[in-house]
C-alpha cells in the first residue's frame, strides 16, 4: 500500500473515531445541555422544588394578569402537554406576549414558578407586519416541540 493511502485511511479512521466520540458525548449531554425545562418536565417530576432553573414554553393565550401593584404579573406557560403558572415582578421584554415563546429563570414553589428574570424567545419565522397579523393565530407552537 502506498504511504499516501495509508495516511488517508489513518486520517479517516481518526476522524470517524473523534466524531463518533463527540456525538456520543453530546447525546449523553442531551438532558444537561438543555437550556430550559418545559411544563411537561415539571409534571413528570424532573425538576425539584426550590432549585434554581429555567422554565420555557409558550405563554398561554389570555393568561397574563397584572396585579394591583402594576409590577407583578401572573401568567401560564404551556408546552401543549402541561401547564405551569408563573409569577414575576419586574419589566418584561418587548417581545413577551401571549401566544409567543418565553423563558423564565427562577425556582419552583408549591407548583408555581417564581421567576427572577423573563426572556422572550423568538421563533424562526420572519415576516412583514401585514403578514404577521394575518398569521398571528397559527403561530403558537413549533419552536418548543422537542
Amino acid at each position: 500500500m502506498k504511504p499516501k493511502n495509508q495516511r488517508l485511511i489513518l486520517v479517516a479512521a481518526a476522524l470517524f473515531a473523534v466524531v463518533a466520540a463527540a456525538l456520543l458525548a453530546m447525546w449523553g449531554l442531551r438532558e444537561q445541555a438543555s437550556y430550559f425545562f418545559t411544563p411537561a418536565d415539571i409534571a413528570a417530576g424532573k425538576a425539584s422544588e426550590g432549585k434554581a432553573m429555567r422554565l420555557g414554553g409558550m405563554v398561554q393565550a389570555h393568561s397574563i394578569q397584572r396585579q394591583g401593584d402594576g409590577l407583578t404579573i401572573r401568567f401560564v406557560v404551556t408546552d401543549g402537554k402541561a401547564t405551569t403558572p408563573v409569577v414575576y415582578r419586574g419589566i418584561v421584554p418587548d417581545l413577551f406576549r401571549e401566544g409567543s415563546g418565553a423563558v423564565a429563570e427562577g425556582r419552583l414553589q408549591n407548583g408555581t414558578f417564581m421567576a427572577d428574570t423573563i426572556l422572550a424567545k423568538h421563533d424562526e419565522r420572519y415576516m412583514p407586519p401585514e403578514l404577521g397579523n394575518l398569521s398571528a393565530e397559527h403561530k403558537a407552537g413549533g419552536t418548543l416541540e422537542r
Binding site: 499516501k4 495516511r7 488517508l8 486520517v11 481518526a14 476522524l15 473523534v18 466524531v19 463527540a22 456525538l23 453530546m26 447525546w27 442531551r30 445541555a33 438543555s34 437550556y35 430550559f36 418545559t38 420555557g56 418584561v92 421584554p93 418587548d94 417581545l95 413577551f96 409567543s100 423563558v103 428574570t117 423573563i118 426572556l119 422572550a120 424567545k121 423568538h122 421563533d123 424562526e124 419565522r125 420572519y126 415576516m127 412583514p128 407586519p129 401585514e130 403578514l131 404577521g132 397579523n133 419552536t143 418548543l144 422537542r146
Partner: protein, 238 residues
C-alpha cells in the same frame, strides 16, 4: 488541487482572482446591506432589529465555513502533504475568527432588544463562542509551529479535531432546547423567512463569502512572498 501544488502556478491564478473576488464581493455586500437597510420591511415582531440578520447570518456561515476550510486544508496536509495546505490554513484562521466574532457581537446586539439579554449560556451561543476560541488557539499554534520550522502537522491535527465543533453548532438548536431559534433556512425545506425580508440575504451571503476568499488569497500571497524573501536573504547571508 494538485495542479496548484506549484506555488508559481498558484500565484498566476490567485493574483487576478483576488481582484475579482474583492470587486464583486464588495459590490454585492454593499448592495445587499443597503437593500437590507432601506428596501425591506421590518419584521412583525422584532421591528427594525431584524435587519441585523443581513450581517449576522453571513458571518455565522463564514465563521463555520472558515473552519470547514481549515479542516479541508488539514486533511490535504496530513494525507497528501500539499505544499500550500498549511499556508491556506494559516490564511483562513484570522478571517474565520473575525467573522465568528462579528457573528457573536451582532447576535448579542440583536439579543438585547429581542430576548431581553446580551448573553445566555445556551447550546448555540456557547458552541459558537467555543469556535471563536478554537480559532484563537489555531492561530497561536500554527504560528508557533511555523516559527519552529514545522510543516504544520500539529496545527493540522488540531484543525481536524476542532472540526467536531461544527456539527455541534449546527445541530445545537435541534438536539437541545435553546434560547436561540431553530434554523430558518434549510437546503431541502425552504425558508420560514418571508421573501420580502429574505431577498437581500443571498446578496450579502455571496458578497461576504467573496470578500472572505479575497482576504484568504491576499494572506496566502503575502506569506508566499515572505517565504521567498526569507529564502533569498538566507542565500545572500550564506
Amino acid at each position: 488541487m494538485h495542479a496548484l501544488a506549484n506555488p508559481a502556478r498558484f500565484l498566476r491564478i490567485a493574483r487576478p482572482a483576488t481582484i475579482w473576488l474583492l470587486a464583486v464581493g464588495l459590490a454585492l455586500a454593499l448592495l445587499g446591506i443597503s437593500a437590507g437597510l432601506t428596501l425591506t420591511p421590518p419584521d412583525y415582531l422584532q421591528g427594525e432589529t431584524v435587519r441585523i440578520l443581513y450581517v449576522h447570518v453571513p458571518s455565522a456561515w463564514l465563521g463555520m465555513g472558515g473552519w470547514l476550510g481549515i479542516a479541508a486544508a488539514s486533511i490535504s496536509q496530513l494525507v497528501w502533504r500539499h505544499p500550500l495546505a498549511a499556508v491556506a490554513g494559516r490564511a483562513v484562521a484570522p478571517a474565520g475568527a473575525t467573522f465568528a466574532a462579528i457573528c457573536l457581537l451582532t447576535g448579542s446586539i440583536w439579543g438585547r432588544p429581542t430576548w431581553g439579554t446580551w448573553w445566555e449560556w445556551d447550546g448555540r451561543l456557547t458552541s459558537m463562542l467555543i469556535l471563536f476560541f478554537l480559532y484563537l488557539g489555531y492561530v497561536a499554534l500554527a504560528s508557533a509551529e511555523r516559527e519552529r520550522g514545522g510543516e504544520g502537522r500539529i496545527a493540522a491535527i488540531y484543525g481536524l479535531v476542532g472540526a467536531v465543533n461544527l456539527p455541534i453548532i449546527h445541530y445545537s438548536v435541534l438536539w437541545w432546547r435553546t434560547l436561540h431559534q431553530g434554523q430558518s433556512i434549510s437546503v431541502t425545506g425552504g425558508s420560514s423567512i418571508d421573501n420580502a425580508i429574505l431577498w437581500p440575504l443571498p446578496l450579502t451571503m455571496i458578497g461576504f463569502s467573496f470578500l472572505f476568499g479575497a482576504a484568504v488569497l491576499m494572506r496566502m500571497r503575502a506569506e508566499l512572498a515572505e517565504a521567498k524573501v526569507e529564502a533569498r536573504m538566507r542565500r545572500l547571508g550564506a
